[in-house]
Symmetry: C2
Subunit: 207 residues, 2 copies
DNA sequence: GACAATACCAAGCAAGCGCTTGGTTTGTAA
DNA sequence: TTACAAACCAAGCGCTTGCTTGGTATTGTC
């Protein structure tokens, strides 16, 4: 299943908003602004202007500003969980599965959904505690994907460190790429970056 | 030189504020609040209340709220650069130097200066562009420490990935520990965590 | 072509924000 | 004691914020 097919089926199930529609367009713009200026510094007037409506009209679609932030996060996690699941199922060996996960997460962070992913990482505290708990629950689903693969590699002695710790280190390392990795200008492609991550973990590229 | 001696000499040179003094106490409380609630959500009234003065009186010590944030960041970098330099000079082999750097950065992030370090990572965008540039310049000094060591290890083929990339991955991985590592409750000590990081990079603990 | 429901606008309210102001207290040193 | 600066207070100004309100287009349905 292609990435686009996955997106389409999630839209059909009403799990994510169509980026063409009014709601989806707002969420896309919100992600962009939240990332660029931070949630607090982005006003409802900014958000409204970005989609060409009045600030008051926002509250027809969302009850509060925070609900917009939460929607950005929830839909992003849903989409990426689905993408990761697909990427991993296509791989065979544990090493290949790990590579697929790394590559998929890098793509989430630095590709189309990058802005929303950055929001997920950096605007965490702007959510109320209740919303945080809700979002956290969704995250657990795809964290399980990682731990499965890492545990297998650990049992095969191909990984020297604890799977939990490694996953958390990778979470930090991969999401941090959003602050420095610029595929457009020069050198490192996404596959190249994936190779570097794998090499760092002791899995050299090619034979 | 002990950590305390380093702090004292920096205070003597007026490079960081004495945490006992009025200014230093404010900066400590500011770091705590900025980390806990984020810079934008922390009001000057919160800051003033934390040190027991009126909100207006803050502006006798700092011209703007942003100046407080900047001071937290600048002083933290100064202190940690000095601590890292000391930690590294005490080590001999490149591997030991790398371990010293990892351990020192983990200590910065999870120890006394942890709150300020978290602010450095997560409140970056709340600084004006000019201030960002200033702070960035200070960071470059201690980034050079890391790159030196990593380059040496790479030349010795004990590191499989590019030193620049590895450093950036480590920046993300180590600063991310602030979100999950809780030394007080259970299991992993700071040395244990350092071992895990080294193991992840292919440097197993002990022989 | 009637009629809801949906989507939006224009205006503005109440609260909270960073910061200023004018004046008082406290510390220090001759 | 006097002189003076540093440290602080009490009050509040001017602005921005998230959100509400009452009303008007636009859209889909039979």
């Amino acid at each position: 299943m292609s990435q686009n097919q996955i997106l389409q089926s999630l839209i059909a199930e009403n799990l994510v908003s169509d980026p063409q529609g009014a709601r989806g367009r707002l969420l896309t713009e919100a992600a962009r602004l939240f990332r660029e200026k931070g949630y607090e510094r982005t006003t409802v007037r900014d958000l409204a202007a970005a989609v060409g409506i009045q600030s008051g009209s926002l509250f027809h679609h969302f009850r509060t500003k925070e609900e917009i932030l939460k929607a950005v996060m929830v839909e992003t996690i849903r989409l990426n969980t689905a993408l990761m699941q697909a990427a991993m199922e296509a791989a065979e060996t544990p090493k290949d599965k790990l590579r697929a996960l790394v590559r998929a997460e890098l793509e989430s962070i630095n590709g189309q959904t990058g802005e929303a992913m950055a929001v997920l990482v950096f605007e965490w505290r702007s959510l109320s505690e209740d919303s945080q708990a809700e979002v956290l629950e969704l995250r657990d689903i795809y964290e399980a994907l990682w731990l499965d693969v890492l545990r297998t590699l650990r049992e095969q002695k191909r990984l020297l460190a604890d799977p939990f710790v490694v996953r958390r280190m990778l979470t930090g390392a991969l999401s941090w790429t959003v602050t420095w990795y610029r595929p457009e200008r020069g050198g490192l492609t996404l596959d190249g970056l994936t190779d570097q991550v794998m090499a760092m973990l002791g899995f050299p590229a090619v034979a």
